[in-house]
């Protein structure tokens, strides 16, 4: 009897054994290399190690129009064709790169090439040599794009040149950063690292001067456009009108901490010389710090900077911007799969505000003591990440104005991509920062073909 039971159980197990396997799905054949025959499928031959010289780039056509009638600018905000070519000779010790844009810009008044301002048919974005003399140091010299700091489309300690014209008229976001002509020396150790950037001749922002974007000119108290572009005096003496920027940083268990220093000039004209009637770039020194790291389910960041306006330390000169304290705090989180929400609070607090008010010319609109900005970014990826939708809004509760950037891009394949978007400026008073650009609000669309070694 006992025997029978044992055998019965055995039989049952033997019968059930294949059944349980089929319940779990079908066992795969062994892949090649684990006993199965080597598959005879012809695989694409593997490309040899990357080429010595790497060429890549894109061609794009981009067009945009103002959504409101601006008496001071053309209705067409953007109409251009651009070919970017990038040539790199990658290497660990020595690396060289050249990136240039050949541009036909129908809206620009002049096609004369100015490599400083990026005007004309050629915009050199990068021409640099990288050299690693020791394990502890890197040097990068030449024309290069430089970025540091923690803000999202808000900058405190990043005093490298920005191109606000490109940003506002709907060029690709990478054009917000204008190149610097500088030497960057980086020193590394386990505990701390240091970046030192020396710019022998001041690199200003590609600032708003009325040529493409109409703006409020505080000197005249009116909206100004291409009929009366800003007359500026840019500091341009080699090795005299120079800039030094430094960053000391560390990564502590994934938390990035940094201290910053800058000695140079306000990057956009923030002074005025009543004698010559020119807008000026007053001296500026900045000290700051930042932190960034995991915060709950997202990423938190905080940044602080003290802007010392050297030509008006006392705050009494009404023609030169006062010193400022700048602060930002941000948080970003993926709220739903492929959907990210980012929030930032930003503050500009004017120093010596009483003196500013006392010395303000009669009739001039006064700035607030504190300028608050809140930003919201929503990014959504869909269709296997081929479609990217993004909304970014700046809103200032103190100035009661704002700027909405909305954009969509869609990858048609590995080369072709379509994109389009909207830049909408709004507010109540034309002298406030965002609302001065109200008539510059625009929509744009672009098509791009990217290429490069596979």
């Amino acid at each position: 009897m006992k025997r029978f039971t044992a055998c019965g159980i055995l039989l049952l197990l033997v019968v059930l054994y294949p059944l349980s396997a089929s319940l779990a799905g079908e066992a795969p054949p062994l892949p090649s290399g684990l006993g199965a025959e080597v598959s005879t499928t012809a695989y694409e031959t593997i490309a040899p190690a990357g080429p010595e010289i790497d060429v890549s780039g894109f061609w794009e056509a981009r067009a945009g129009t103002r959504t409101r009638n601006d008496p001071y600018e053309r209705q067409t905000s953007l109409l251009e064709s651009r070919l970017q070519l990038s040539v790199e000779r990658p290497g660990d010790t020595v690396n060289m790169k050249l990136t240039g844009d050949i541009l036909y810009d129908e809206v620009a008044d002049s096609h004369h090439v100015d490599l400083e301002t990026g005007e004309g048919f050629l915009d050199l974005r990068e021409v640099w040599v990288f050299y690693r003399p020791t394990d502890m140091a890197d040097i990068k010299a030449g024309r290069q794009v430089l970025t540091w700091g923690t803000g999202d489309l808000l900058f405190i300690n990043d005093l490298f040149p920005k191109d606000f014209r490109s940003f506002f008229i709907g060029r690709d976001e990478e054009y917000l950063k204008a190149p610097s002509d500088a030497v960057k020396l980086s020193l590394f150790s386990d505990a701390l690292s240091l970046d030192l950037v020396y710019t022998p001749r001041f690199d200003a922002d590609r600032y708003i001067d009325g040529s493409r974007i109409s703006f409020y000119n505080p000197a005249t108290g009116t909206i100004t456009g291409r009929d009366d572009t800003l007359n500026t005096r840019v500091p341009d003496d080699w090795f005299h009108d120079d800039e030094v920027a430094a960053r000391l940083y560390t990564n502590w268990n994934g938390y990035e901490l940094a201290a910053y220093g800058y000695k140079g000039f306000w990057k956009s004209p923030r002074g005025f010389d009543p004698g010559s009637g020119q807008a000026t770039f007053p001296e500026l020194d900045v000290l700051g710090m930042s932190g960034r790291g995991t915060l709950g389910p997202g990423i938190g960041n905080i940044e602080l900077g003290y802007y010392h306006s050297g030509d008006d330390s006392s705050g009494r000169d009404p023609y030169i911007i006062n010193s400022e304290l700048r602060f930002l705090a941000g948080y970003e989180q993926e709220i739903v799969r492929e959907t990210t929400l980012g929030l930032q609070y930003y503050l500009e607090r004017m120093q010596h505000y009483d003196r500013y008010r006392d010395n303000l010319p009669a009739g001039s609109p006064a700035r607030d003591h504190n300028r608050h900005i809140v930003t919201v970014r929503l990014t959504w990826l869909a269709l296997q990440q081929d479609l990217r939708l993004s909304v970014f809004n700046y809103y200032s509760p103190s100035d009661e104005d704002g700027y909405l950037r909305a954009g969509a891009s869609y990858r048609l394949d590995d080369n072709w991509a379509l994109s389009g978007g909207l830049n909408l400026f709004y507010g109540d008073e034309r002298h406030t920062f965002f609302d001065q650009f109200e008539k510059d609000s625009n929509v744009y669309a672009a098509i791009r073909y990217g290429f490069g070694s596979y």
């Binding site: 025997r3 396997a21 090649s32 794009v145 994934g254 990423i299």
Partner: protein, 279 residues
Amino acid sequence: MNISSRAGHHCSGIIFLLVLQFSISCRLYAATPSVEEIIRKTEQTAYYLGKDGSARVTVKITDSQGRERKRRFSILRLDERPDRQNHADPPGDQKYYVHINYPSDLKNTVLLVWKHPGADDDRWLYLPALDLTKRIAASDKRTSFLGSDFLYEDISGRDLNADTHQLVDTTSDYYVLKNIPRQPDTVEFSEYTMWIHRKTFLPVKVEYLDKQEKKYRVYTALEVETIQGYPTVTRSRMQDLALKQETTMEFTHIKYDRELPEDIFTERYLRNPPHDLLR
């Protein structure tokens, strides 16, 4: 098991062959390691080979209409605890450096991941055109990797403690494990089954069932090569049965134990990639 096989001795006659077959599988069962051991070893062979590793990767995404997309990148991996010998030890932190070479709109983009099993990873993205090191919120690891059918979690490994594991079958080639998520709300599948090669502990097939218990996602190892003594999946495929699309991933130029310096996985090399190591 022992009782059954001892009982097998007493059986006779017509069922002899069946018993023979069964006692063979009994012997196999007797050699079966514990579930814990299997998953630890599988994790080891799938994600922790050597103390570091590097490879070049070609990804092909083929959609339901046969259209093909490609991605090419180089990947460097460093284990924080290369001394980990005992598979029962908890898995150590890892660092990944992914340098994208194709398509051109992502060229020279770098993804840096500091993986902390059981906690959120630290992730950075370097965008070369802006010289921007961006921090990425990494709360959801089940998002697509570079628009392919592979997810971040498939590339860097799913936390073993996120699922319960059950050995449902042992065949001549495979341990078959059924895995059920401990927190079903955080994932899109209800369970997945893994066929783990018994000799090498490489997962050869993984089938995912959706919330309706329908198979919708299948991973298959297509090719294995033994490199520096480590059996390595060099070609694999992820099929999305719902979208009727699939991604194949091919690894070449694989090297292990390169003594990769740890500072490769820092901001310094995000901005200036270690080109010689990526080749």
